[in-house]
């Protein structure tokens, strides 16, 4: 993190060094996996939905791709320790006289829990759905926020 500040590199996207390294590392993993015959997937708990957890100094951010799920079909519970996301994805029947050529989209129930690395403020959680992507912003508790200390 220090090098990023020193070099004053603009953040996120492909300009962001640590993110790019991480992607590179995963691509190397994929490559080794392909060579050894198996595939090494991205690290995952193996529970739907795949979830990304990020943080800045003020908040934790939880993101998950949930296409076709309306916000009122989701149940989100946040406690001091973690978040749980559950719901059901329904794919309506398309009538009797249809012939399917491909069926790759799955329906079913899901439930996922994630623990936060630090303490959070449960009262100010914000959740939104946009284009099938869930985003939950969970503010860190005052005690858990980093403080700048001035050296006298």
């Amino acid at each position: 993190m220090l090098y990023r500040r020193l070099l004053n590199v603009p953040s996120w996207g492909f300009d962001r060094p640590f993110r790019e390294f991480e992607r590179l590392r995963r691509e190397m993993d994929d490559l080794y996996g392909a060579l050894s015959g198996g595939t090494l997937p991205m690290p995952s708990a193996g529970v739907f939905p795949l979830t990304n957890l990020t943080e800045d100094t003020k908040n934790y951010y939880v993101r998950a791709e949930l296409p076709g799920i309306k916000s009122n079909e989701l149940d989100i519970q946040v406690s001091g320790e973690g978040i749980s996301i559950s719901g059901e994805r329904k794919i309506p029947e398309e009538g009797e006289n249809v012939r399917y050529h491909r069926r790759e989209r799955d329906a079913g129930k899901f439930s996922r829990s994630i623990n936060f690395p630090g303490q959070v403020d449960v009262d100010k959680v914000e959740a939104s759905m946009e284009n099938g992507v869930l985003r939950v912003i969970i503010p860190k508790s005052e005690a858990a926020k980093p403080r700048q200390i001035t050296v006298k």
Binding site: M42, L66, G68, N97, H101, E104, A107
Partner: protein, 136 residues
Amino acid sequence: MSDKESKNLQVKPKQKSTSHAEQTRPGLIFTPNVDIFETDHDITLLADIPGVSADDLTIDLRKNVLTLTGEVKPSEGADEEAVMIEYDTGKYHRQFTLSSVIDQSKIDAKLNDGVLRLTLPKVREATPRKIEVTAG
């Protein structure tokens, strides 16, 4: 499993595109999951493209080749650091060759909650006409 309702969703990692066509811009490309079904009148395609807004979706049909391309704009803030990353975002891209002739003027595309619903009406077969022959 007989009871369809009790089925649990399994994790399906996002499928990276295996197309080797060279890209001009760096970035990841994913193959969206689709359902395709057909009736006597039309072909319907449903595609899961979470993160794509209507403005960033391109649907192109020429010479029976249907191309879907969707861009995902990163929503992350400038100061966010990764704690746990299980999926990547990038472009969605997929191509299909259609066997029926499609009435281009009546194609209907709707994007709701990250799911594209594309209705492709087939061209009506010319209705048989009876030709009366009159004796002259």
